[in-house]
C-alpha cells in the first residue's frame, strides 16, 4: 500500500495538523515504508481470532457517580494560552 501526496494531505487535515509543504514528500515516503511494514499482518490467519482490546482481558472498572474533585479551574487555567473570566478564548467561530 502506498500513499500519494494528496492522501497525506487528506490525513493531515483529518488530524488537524499543518505539514510544511517542503516536508510532504518525505512523509509520503516514510508513511509508505511504515505501511509496507504493517502489511505483513495480512499474511496472518486471524479468521477465528477475537480482537484483543485489553492486555489482561479485564472489563473497564466504573466508579460511583459522586463528586470527588474540588473546583480547580483557577489552577488549571494558569497554564492556558488565553482565558477571560474563567473561559478559554479562541478565534471567533460564529460571525
Amino acid at each position: 500500500m502506498s500513499l500519494d501526496k494528496s492522501d497525506v494531505e487528506k490525513i493531515a487535515h483529518l488530524a488537524r495538523m499543518a505539514l510544511d509543504e517542503s516536508h510532504i514528500e518525505a512523509y509520503v515516503e516514510d508513511l509508505g515504508n511504515i505501511l509496507n511494514l504493517v502489511e505483513q499482518l495480512e499474511a496472518a490467519d486471524t479468521d477465528a481470532i477475537e480482537p484483543m482490546f485489553h492486555p489482561l482481558h479485564m472489563a473497564q472498572r466504573l466508579r460511583g457517580d459522586e463528586v470527588t474533585e474540588s473546583d480547580c479551574r483557577g489552577a488549571n487555567q494558569v497554564v492556558a494560552p488565553k482565558v477571560e473570566n474563567g473561559l478559554y478564548l479562541v478565534p471567533k467561530v460564529i460571525e
Binding site: 488537524r16 511504515i34 504493517v38 499482518l41 482490546f53 492486555p55 494558569v78 478559554y88
Partner: protein, 484 residues
Amino acid sequence: MHSKSIAELGAAMRAGEFTSVELTRHFIDRIDRLNGELNALITATPEQALAEAEAADRAIQSGKAGPLTGIPLVQKDIFCTRGVKTSCGSRMLDNFVSPYDATVVERLKQAGAVSLGKANMDEFAMGSSNETSYYGPVRNPWDRGRVPGGSSGGSAAAVAARLAAAATGTDTGGSIRQPAALCGITGLKPTYGRVSRYGMIAFASSLDQAGPMTRSAEDAALMLQAMAGFDPKDSTCADQAVPDYSAMLNDSLQGLKIGLPREYFYEGLDSDVTASIEEAIDLYKQLGAEVVEISLPNSGLAVPTYYVVAPAECSSNLSRFDGVRFGYRCDDPKDLEDLYKRTRGEGFGAEVKRRILIGTYALSAGYYDAYYLKAQKTRHLISDDFKHAFETVDVIMGPTAPTPAFALGEKVDDPVTMYLNDIYTIATNLAGLPGISIPVRAVDGLPVGLQIIGNYFNEGKLLNAAHRYQSETDWHRQIPEGFA
C-alpha cells in the same frame, strides 16, 4: 557516595554517616558538572530537592525513615510534577507547568524520595534513541558518540553516569528496557496495570506502563515497592496485592524453568550479543535453572502489530494538544481551524507527526477493519504464544536489543530501521507482560542487556532471577569512564 546502592545509602543515612542534604548536594554538584556533556536532564530542581532532603533528614532523625527516605532520583519528564515544568520532550509542552502530581510522583514523594529534576526523553516517548527530543539528544555515558536508547534515554543515562541514585521510566514498546540495556543499568517494565498511569502523559493507553530504572535489581525492588499498587484515579490500574519484592530477591533458582524462544536468536542478532546472552544463561544453569527451547511463532508480527495499535492510540490521545487549554499555541491564528492546525504543526516534531498520521489513517473510515481490527487480532495471537509458553516455563530469556548502542544519527532518517530496535521488547507490551533488562557481558566496552520476561504480576520472580545473577557478577557495578 554516588556509587552506593539505595539500601547502602539508606543505611548510611540512618547510621548518621551523612545526611540526605549532603547526599543531595553531592548529586546536584555532579549534575552541574556532568549533565552538560550528556543532556540527560531537561529541568534540574535543586532548590526543591534540598527542601525535600531537609524533610527527609527530619524523618530520619525521628526514626520514621523508609527505604527511599532521602534518596535522590530523577523523574522522566513524562510524569506530571506539580509546580515543575513537564515537557514530555516536546515543544508542545515547553511552557507547561503541571498543576498536579502524577500518582507515581506522589507515591515516591510520600516514600520520602528526593527529586533532583526531570529527565530528557524522546518526544512524547516516541523513539528508541532519544533523538526525537525537542531538547536535543541525550548522549550515552559509555560513548558520547552513541545514543542512550529511548524513549527513557535521559533516565538511563542519568543512572548510568551516577547523576542520581535511581530514575523513573515508562515503557510502551521497550522504552525502559532498551535504554537500560544500552546504558548498562537495570530496567523493569511491570505488568500492565501494576503501576498507576494517572498523571503520566498518555501515548498508547493499552500499552503504557511506568517502572523503575536503577543500578541493580535490589534497588528496583525498593522502587517498585513504592510505585506499585491500586489507584482509583486510573481505571486500568489492577486491584491486586503488592508482594514484598525485597523478601523474594534471594529465593533459590533451583529448578527454575527458563524458556529460550528460538525466534529471539535469529540471524539478525549481533553475534557478540548472542555470546553474552549465552554466557549469562550458562550462569543460570549453574545456579540450578533448567533451560528449554520454546517457540513464540507469531513473534514476527509484533513490530507490525505495534505500528498500528500504538499510532492509533497515539493519534487519539494526542488530539488533546490543540492550543486551547494548555501548552503551545501558534501566533495570530486567523480562525479556529488555523489555530488547531498550525499549533499542532509547529508544536509536534517529525516522529510524533508520522505516528499521528499513521494512526489517523488506520482509524479513518474504510480502513479501521483492515488495520486496527486486524492488529488487535494479531495482538491476540502474540499474547496466546506467551500464554502457551508459560504453561511449561517460569520465565523467558533472550536479548533486550539486537545490538549494543548505535551511533547518534545512524538511524534517525529511517523510521522503520529504528522501529526494529524494539523487535524483542514490543511483544511483551502487546501481551501486557512484565519484563526486565539487566546488564551482562559488555561488547567492546558497550553494555549488553539480558531480557527476562515473566508471567502476569510475576515481577517478584524477575527481580529474584535478576538479583541472583547480579550476586554472582559485577556487570551492573561497572561505571563508565569519567563518571566514577
